[in-house]
């Protein structure tokens, strides 16, 4: 870009971007648009990502990355999501401290060395998925970050149990919840810092962890270096990045990001009829089962009358994936698929199946069911925040 301010596309204005600056574009195929996004390689420690927003960065993982063969998402392709623009560029591992304070017997100030050496190390495979993943596909459309399906990733996390850290500090009787805050800060003084809280019992369940490594390496800076909370089975909004403050609280959290943002209808599947108002809301929490075909995308051409392999990834949410099925007739009949190895209840599971398709346009739907019997509905759920999409995903392909 040569000494000139750039007008970006979107809102039907992609044509205005000067050709000299034309980037590789990627079309998310959002109903009604605008779905064209730049592919960027300009972010530190990141490979090719879909640029949703430069500042604060929102980077989406292209679906092709999930086409395996591994179930773990490479760190350099792991999606990125920040709310406020003040993200510290310099983090000194020698002086960094994690505070544990509030309703505790002994407030702590833990160094990274303390966490690496003085607490048992635990490993857990878990999917980190944005509450608004796939929001751009909601119909009717809703405002917010216009993600396709790539605001998610699966990693092996190493770290310490939150429980062990809380036990060392000694939670006082009467404590209700634990609030987590990171180094990022709002750009304006009046606004609430991004912080989230978990009920005390949840925080002490022995699974919630403070991660210092992602897939065997330090966390990428944009994924929350040096520490991030891992809340298995729960949406990413709770997985506080650059975690440096843990406060045990004895009154309900009144922070904007708990009380107002990230709230969903208190209805089955968080579903309401578009246009409804006045429904009760609750903070978003657990993830539902979901599945995606990863080797074919919308509009793909395949051979008719011959075996075609379909493969993809599925997640069970809070329980393991029990089965994944494919339908080529809009959910009238379902074909079982073969599941890949189970690499952890909270992670992705691969599936594949061989299918013979008739000539013409064929809808291919994929449905996951978890061990608790929770299954994806054929009809998409809807809510005004564009949260917790749960329905079966269907792509249409042409068999010839």
């Amino acid at each position: 870009m040569v000494g000139r301010r750039r007008v970006i596309g979107g809102m039907g204005l992609a044509a205005l971007a000067s050709p000299a600056l034309a980037q590789k574009l990627f079309d998310l195929g959002l109903p009604g648009g605008p779905g064209e996004r730049e592919i960027t390689t300009a972010y530190p420690q990141k490979g090719a990502m879909i640029l949703q927003r430069a500042r604060p960065p929102l980077l989406e993982t292209p679906m092709s990355v999930f086409d395996g063969p591994d179930v773990f998402t490479p760190n350099d392709r792991f999606f990125v999501r920040w709310h406020w623009g003040d993200i510290p560029a310099v983090i000194n591992v020698d002086t960094f401290r994690l505070a544990v304070r509030g309703a505790v017997q002994t407030p702590l100030s833990l160094s990274l060395a303390d966490l690496l050496r003085d607490f048992p190390r635990v490993e857990l495979a878990a999917i980190n998925q944005c509450s608004g993943n796939s929001r751009g596909l909601f119909v009717p459309r809703v405002p917010g970050a216009q993600w396709g399906h790539g605001a998610m990733g699966n990693a092996r996390w190493w770290g310490v149990r939150l429980k062990d850290v809380l036990d060392r500090a000694g939670v006082k009787p009467g404590a209700l919840a634990v609030r987590f805050d990171g180094l990022d800060k709002p750009l304006v003084p009046k606004a609430d810092d991004f912080a989230k809280s978990l009920a005390l019992d949840h925080a002490r369940d022995g699974e919630v962890m403070i991660a210092y490594a992602q897939n065997g390496e330090a966390l990428p800076w944009l994924n929350g270096f040096p520490l991030r909370l891992v809340v298995p089975g729960w949406f990413s909004t709770y997985w506080i990045k650059m975690l440096n403050d843990i406060e045990v609280i004895d009154a309900p959290d009144s922070n904007y990001w708990m009380t107002t943002a990230y709230k969903i209808p208190d209805t089955p599947l968080a579903n309401v009829v578009p246009g409804t108002t006045g429904f009760k809301t609750v903070p978003i929490s657990t993830m539902p089962p979901r599945a995606w075909i990863t080797n074919l995308s919308q509009g793909a051409k395949v051979r008719a009358g011959r075996a075609v392999v379909l493969r993809g990834i599925a997640m069970g949410g809070t329980e393991s994936v029990a089965r994944v099925e494919i339908s080529s007739d809009n959910g009238r009949t379902w074909l079982p698929t073969t599941l890949g190895p189970d690499r952890g209840r909270y992670g992705f599971r691969r599936f594949d199946v061989s299918i013979t398709l008739p000539q013409g346009e064929v809808p291919l739907s994929v449905r996951a069911t978890n061990r608790a019997g929770e299954t994806q509905p054929m009809t998409q759920n809807w809510n005004p925040g564009g949260y917790r999409r749960a329905g079966v995903e269907t792509i249409s392909v042409t068999a010839a």
Binding site: G10, M11, A54, A113, P186, V188, F225
Partner: protein, 124 residues
């Protein structure tokens, strides 16, 4: 300890006596915190520049002045087609929930600009 490592520690010690910032740069290159086979190195990162502005049009200046300080224009331009009333709610949310210093007098022209632009996106 090998030679290059002791040399870099020496540089570090010298830097320490000079300025604090020099220490950062040094730390990030040569050291880290280690434990049980894992090393966490200090980081010093930069984000790519973002100089995108809103497309020209009546009151684009007001929108540029009010809507670029916290996030890129793409947060706005990538929204689906929304009616003027929805844009008004969004602008008020920016002011009330996120502390955007938007003057009451500017709201109608900002909403007008956004609704006009948005109308060019197909409905869905």
């Amino acid at each position: 300890m090998n030679i290059s490592r002791s040399a870099s520690l020496l540089v570090l010690a010298l830097a320490l006596s000079a300025t604090g910032t020099a220490v950062f740069a040094q730390t990030s290159k040569t050291r880290g915190v280690s434990g049980r086979g894992l090393t966490l190195p200090s980081v010093n990162m930069t984000l790519p520049a973002d100089s995108a502005v809103f497309p020209d049009g009546p009151h684009a200046d007001t929108v540029n002045a009010n809507c670029l300080s916290c996030h890129s224009a793409s947060m706005v331009l990538y929204q689906p087609r929304l009616a003027a009333a929805d844009w008004r709610k969004i602008v008020e949310k920016m002011r009330d929930a996120y502390g955007a210093p938007v003057e009451a007098a500017d709201i109608p022209v900002i909403v007008d600009y956004l609704a006009t632009l948005s109308a060019k996106t197909p409905a869905r």
